[in-house]
Amino acid sequence: MNNRLRVLRAERGWSQAELGAQLSVSRQAVNAIETGKYDPSLPLAFRIGRLFGLAIEDIFDDGHTGTDNG
């Protein structure tokens, strides 16, 4: 899953450790999300969205267009 976390973090001038501290996760977790090694849990995705003031889908992109039921 692609995401804009690195860009959003860079815009604010935060290090991975600083972002991790604000999200209550480790620097390694932030790095793993940024590099696409790990997709965050739903609670963590919500925390990320709230921190940046964005919706989850504005940060994470699963590459799927349209709706599943349409």
């Binding site: 991790g20 996760v25 480790s26 390694q28 977790a29 090694k37 997709d39 849990s41």
Partner: protein, 150 residues
């Protein structure tokens, strides 16, 4: 997010990942020490470190990513134990088949010698199984850390 006075710090959580790498190294040393003579104090220190790290990794409060890696490590450890038991069962079946075959060929049951019990006795060694399954855990954790975890 509600304030949690006991929540681990970012530094503490980052240290937990380093602990996993240390655990991998100490487990490798233990396996080396099992087969090769090393200084006893090195083995003792590594044994204590591995035990403490294993307990810490299973009981400490960690972030989601760490928990995912830990789960993968535990799957590897269980797979290691499963393979170990399968190997044990395989050789046990071989031993039984040998005795049955010898009996069917006309040998007296009381003079059928064990086929090859000694070379596989290590499979009954609980300490070796413990350190090998520990290696499975830390290796699985490290593998998932390097590769894509979830």
């Amino acid at each position: 997010m509600a304030y949690d006075p006991l929540a681990p710090t970012e530094q503490g959580q980052a240290n937990a990942f380093r602990g996993a790498w240390i655990g991998l190294v100490t487990t490798l040393v233990l396996i080396l020490a099992y087969f090769l003579p090393v200084w006893p104090w090195v083995e003792t220190i590594c044994l204590a470190a591995t035990a403490l790290l294993a307990m810490f990794m299973l009981t400490g409060r960690h972030d989601d990513y760490f928990n995912v890696l830990r789960e993968i490590g535990m799957r590897w450890a269980m797979a290691t134990i499963g393979l170990w038991l399968f190997a044990h069962a395989f050789f046990a079946v071989g031993e039984i088949a040998y005795k049955v075959g010898s009996f069917a060929a006309g040998a007296r049951p009381d003079i059928i010698a064990p086929k090859q019990a000694a070379p596989f006795n290590f499979l009954r060694d609980a300490y070796l199984l413990a350190i090998v399954s520990s290696l499975g855990f830390f290796a699985g954790f490290a593998f998932a850390r390097v590769r894509r975890a979830a």
